[in-house]
């Protein structure tokens, strides 16, 4: 049954979360300095606070009790204070995390819109010049070091042509209250008189980072769509469909694309962690106030509670996307469903 499979995935998910929290917990002891400071983020607890904290974090007890106390704090939302700003880590995370999600989402959208049709074209015209050009571009894009690519784009479009701004999410002229944390919906919700100008400005800020970040997933999408399509095109059910008299486009859409997208979807889940890595680097270059920039700042400030929190959030996101893609792949693919049950 499919339920059996879902329950197994759920079990896997809980195991991975368990291991992840273990890892995050052990970091508190592995980082240089006092574990108490690393967990709480209070750099100099005074004499009154010290016994309370030791009691609360159960630092006099064994590691197991400490871990249980850690888990309870995580679930209650007490993730410690940031050593740099003395703000709660969880609060800061909710401020920066949507910006990253926004950037990644637009990059993925671009990669879908561009990558899948181009990959299809490259597969259908595999020996035609257009197919070769697309494959070559995909290979070139796959090899680009993102920080260099981002700088080249800045040199060309911002410094050279002056089309796009180089940093930030929106010009400081516009004051947009944070409701959802996502910039474009926030502007629409803000109800300010200048919302149209602000919207355009946000789009102008978004173009360059989203395009740079989209380069890698787009090329991955082209490559995998092309490979999967070439593979599917040789299957006998395609020949059957052609023999039944379906037109080329019907075969392509109903039998080709649907089957070819399955392995692509799976790969997307596996490539997601690379995408997050690249997002962190492009956030640094474009001063995009997301979790990557926040985390890279935290490391130069030796802000251990923040690093711990960032690890938990980013890894959880990647795990969730991975497992979601895996489940979707199984739900959509009868063959994988059979394998999962058998």
């Amino acid at each position: 049954m499919i339920w059996h499979y879902l329950i197994r995935r759920l079990f896997l998910l809980s195991f991975v979360f368990f291991a992840l929290t273990c890892f995050a917990f052990s970091l508190g002891h592995l980082f240089p300095g006092d574990p108490l400071v690393n967990f709480s983020g209070i750099s100099q607890p005074d004499d009154e606070l010290l016994p309370v904290l030791v009691q609360q974090y159960r630092l006099d007890d064994g590691y197991l009790q400490q871990y249980i106390a850690f888990l309870q704090r995580i679930l209650q939302g007490d993730w410690g204070l940031s050593l740099a700003s003395q703000q709660p880590v969880l609060f800061e995370l909710t401020q920066v995390f949507p910006a990253t999600l926004e950037l990644v989402a637009y990059a993925l959208l671009i990669s879908f819109v561009l990558g899948v049709p181009l990959g299809l074209l490259a597969a259908i015209k595999a020996s035609h010049w257009s197919g070769r050009v697309i494959s070559t571009i995909a290979l070139l894009g796959y090899s680009l070091p993102i920080f260099w690519w981002a700088l080249l784009m800045i040199m060309l479009f911002s410094i050279g042509l002056g089309w796009f701004p180089t940093s930030g999410r929106i010009s400081v002229l516009y004051e947009i209250p944070s409701v959802t944390g996502f910039m474009l919906p926030d502007i629409l919700l803000s109800g300010q008189t200048y919302w149209q100008a602000a919207f355009q400005d946000a789009i102008r800020h978004l173009w360059l980072p989203a395009f740079v970040l989209a380069t890698y997933p787009t090329t991955v999408m082209i490559r995998f769509t092309r490979d999967a399509m070439l593979n599917v095109w040789q299957q006998s059910y395609i020949k059957t469909a052609r023999a039944k008299g379906l037109s080329r486009s019907q075969v392509l859409y109903r039998h080709g694309l649907r089957n070819a997208m399955l392995p692509v979807m799976r790969q997307l889940g596996l490539q997601f962690s690379t995408l997050v890595t690249l997002a962190m680097i492009s956030e640094l270059i474009f001063s995009w106030p997301g979790i990557g920039l926040w985390l890279l700042d935290s490391i130069s400030q030796r802000n251990y509670p923040a690093i711990q929190g960032g690890l938990l959030v980013i890894s959880s996101l990647v795990i969730l996307v991975n497992i979601l893609m895996d489940v979707l792949h199984t739900l959509f693919n009868p063959l994988a469903r059979k394998q999962a049950n058998g």
Partner: protein
Amino acid sequence: MAKFQWLYHKTEHGPLSQLWASFRQQHSAVIGLMLFGFFALIALFGPVLTPYDPYLQNPDALLLPPSWDDMGDVRYLLGTDDLGRDQLSRLIKGASYTFGIALITALGAMFLGLLLGVLAGMSKGFRASAFNHVLDLALTIPSLLLAIIIVAILGPGLINTIWAIMLALLPHFVHGVRNTILQQLEQEYVIAYRLDGANNWQILRYVIFPNTWEQLTVLFSMALSTAILDIAALGFLGLGAQAPAAEWGLMVADALDLIYLSPWSIALPGLLIFIAVLSVNLVSDGLRTAVRKRQES
């Protein structure tokens, strides 16, 4: 005639020469291999080839453009940086850092991954399942994040990033080796060999290993391109190689303040990273195609 093609098909060649024959037919892959060899030679003999000491500062020649520019100086072929250090020498030296160390890191990850992958592939039941789950976890932590955490524990530096990247590459090798071994274990010739009385070690040594090296080279080439990109990225972020090392990523970061004054000092190191990764990817693609063709024939 196609019917009789097998009569003309040369089968006396070993798998290695068959692989080479189909690899050689792909021009892009051969070009990639030549570039790869070029980078490997420079990484190895870099210290002998540099026209100047890469760390020697010349206060009389700051920020010279490349020699073909009107302002350039022919003594400094690719110009100098803001401290008057020769760009060409630094770029050559950088090949040993970025390319050479990536090579060593990927090799180390391959050996460790082979070991763990064999353990994972040959074990059964609870142990195998526990192993898979740990592997799934390791695959989900982005490599840069893992490197950041390791650097946070150990402190920044080139040696620590080598460990970090090795650790980040490891799961891909373990995963790949394990899948190949599981695939091989299902083959009938393995069962036949087992019926002959072979133990696990003999099966591994005489049946599985000879059938996995192709997969291993493909995995290695893919890991190598990741390793180059990661070392350069960490150098760029200031977490990897530290100044004044002539690591390519670090050189890009150093030149950031000079983006208006000397754009070529950003463009050149980045271009080298790009070409190095491209050459590895070309070889990798060629290898994969060649392996597939050989296995199909």
